[in-house]
Structure formats: C-alpha cells, structure tokens
C-alpha cells in the first residue's frame, strides 16, 4: 500500500507543508506520517509532526481509579507524566484529568484499549476526553530546544527546572498549549500540544524560533533513532 497522504485515510493538517518541503512519508495503519525530509540536515533542535500519534484523555472524579485499573503506576501529582514499559506516556493534567499518548512506534494498543474501556464503562467512571482530533502534537528534540522555546513561552523549560516528566500548561506563542518534558532516547525534548485550529500557526512559529539555533523539521525516523 502506498504511504502517500492522498492514499490514506488519516493525514496531518500540515500535509501540504510537508509535501512542499520534500517529505518522505511512511504508513502506520491508515495514517500517513513523515518519515524524513529529503534534505534533512538539522544541527539544532528538530521539530517533528506527531499529530497522527494515537492519543486520548479522560476526566472526572472517577478517572484516577478507573485509569489505575488499566495502567499501572499513574503519576500521583498534577502536571506530571510517566512513561510506561511499552512507551505510553501517561500525563496527569489535574487531579481528575489525564492525557495518554501512544508510544512512538505507533503500534500500541493501549490508547484504543483505554478508549474502549471508557466507552463501555458508562458515565459514572469517567468521561472520555478525545485528544486525537482536538489537539495537534509535535515533538521538539535537541539540546537547544529549551533555549528556542524561551522565545515563545514564559515558563522556564530548562532541564534543571523542568526535568523529564514535568508538564507545563501555559501559553506558547500566545496560544494555550501543553508542554511535556520527555527524553527521546538520549536526547531531551518536549511534546507540545495545542488546539488543532492553531496547528499551522504554532508549527510555523516554532520552526521560525528554532531556525536561529540551526534547527528545522525532522521526520519520525529521527525521533525513533534517538532511542
């Protein structure tokens, strides 16, 4: 099957940008994801479009207990994230709200399992907070990522103040978003989410910010090979 975005059901809002920048696509089930760019030589921070990564969320008074029955070792405090053994990222956004990002291999069933469990459990346990279509998702990877983000975000994201697992729900380039500190293999970086309506704006803003540091767009292979 072709991995070109036109031939697959799910493609990123940034597809036209990716095509214009000579992206090479790969398919993950019905999703067309940028594997790399033809001339991908990035010295500084790399920005990767992960908008098609499976993800979901849940909220409600019963959410912690409900999720604990499906995922072990939940973060105990709000604004903290944990990585499970299979690479799923479980982010606690408040006492009663969670965001779950599937592993970067795109083959995890955890997100689908959680969504199925919520939908079959009824309203009392927790209510679903789908994140796949409501938010875009980027990964910003590299040593100077925090320096570049300082141009866009008022929260100190340097590693000593914002270690892996820390979460900041704040304003990024004047857009409300979520920043999750994460170690991509040996490289530090961030997951960045914002409302899907601002996808293109935020992408271009971050690309512009990291250009000063020799950064640019990278594909999924660059993220995966850092493991």
């Amino acid at each position: 099957m072709s991995s070109q975005p036109e031939s697959l059901l799910r493609r990123s809002q940034l597809t036209q940008w990716h095509i214009a920048h000579d992206a090479v696509f790969e398919s993950h089930a019905d999703r067309s994801v940028v594997a790399a760019y033809a001339n991908e030589t990035v010295d500084g921070p790399g920005l990767c479009d992960l908008s098609l990564l499976p993800r979901t969320g849940l909220k409600g008074r019963g959410a912690p207990d409900f999720l604990a029955s499906l995922v072990s070792d939940l973060p105990q405090e709000p604004n903290n994230a944990r990585v499970t053994k299979d690479g799923t990222i479980v982010a606690r956004l408040s006492n009663e709200e969670f965001l779950i990002l599937g592993s970067l291999s795109f083959d995890s069933q955890v997100v689908a399992d959680i969504e199925a469990a919520i939908n079959s459990a009824g309203e009392k346990a927790a209510y679903p907070l789908p994140r796949a279509d409501s938010h875009c998702l980027f990964a910003l990877v590299g040593a100077a990522a925090a320096d570049a983000m300082a141009k866009l975000c008022a929260v100190d994201l340097r590693a000593r103040k914002f270690p892996p697992g820390a979460i900041a729900q704040t304003s990024i380039a004047r857009v409300s978003g979520v920043v999750i500190s994460h170690e991509f293999g040996s490289r530090s970086g961030f997951f960045i989410l914002c409302d899907t309506a601002s996808t293109e704006y935020l992408w271009r803003s971050i690309i512009d910010a990291i250009d000063e540091y020799g950064g640019g767009a990278i594909g999924l292979q660059s993220i995966s090979t850092t493991d």
Partner: protein
C-alpha cells in the same frame, strides 16, 4: 509583567488569566426574590480593600479564588475553590 500564582499550575504571567468577578454568596434559589437574584447575578460590591475574586487560568480552564486588595492591587493569596465550597455543594450529574 505581573505574575499570578495558579494553585494548579504555579506562577504564570497575568496574560494567561481571565478575571471572573467577585465571589458572591448565592442566595437560596427557592426563597429569594427577583431583586435579590438580580443583585447576585449582575451587581458587584466594588469594595475598596481586600476582596475575594474568581480567576481562571485560561490555558487549563482552571477556576480558582484569589484574595486581592483592590486599593494596592496586591494579591494576598490564591487558593482552590474547594476551600470555600464543600463536597455537599457539588452538583452531581443526574442518573
């Protein structure tokens, strides 16, 4: 820029917050008249001094309370709404 301390997210620029008005004691909906109810909904005391106000951290839609001196614009403290609203006041979804 002014900094406000969100009880959930910590110190943030004031531009991340939305003011939600004074905290009013809600009159009993069953026994209060139209005038009393209109005052509750529409009117503020506008007191010169320390008042308790609603604020919302826009990025998380998180509402909390702040004690602020309206004369000096000093924020004494910010705290969770649960400090003032007991579990009994929580509106449960209908079965």
């Amino acid at each position: 820029m002014k900094i406000l301390n969100c009880p959930l997210n910590g110190p943030r620029n004031i531009s991340e917050f939305t003011y939600g008005g004074e905290l009013h004691e809600m009159p009993d909906p069953d026994s209060s008249g139209a005038r009393e109810w209109a005052e509750y909904v529409f009117f503020d005391e506008n007191k010169a001094g320390v008042v308790t106000e609603w604020w919302c951290h826009t990025a998380t839609s998180f509402w909390f309370l702040a004690e602020r001196n309206t004369v000096t614009d000093e924020v004494m403290r910010t705290f969770l709404a649960s400090e003032r609203f007991s579990e009994a006041n929580r509106i449960e979804p209908s079965a």
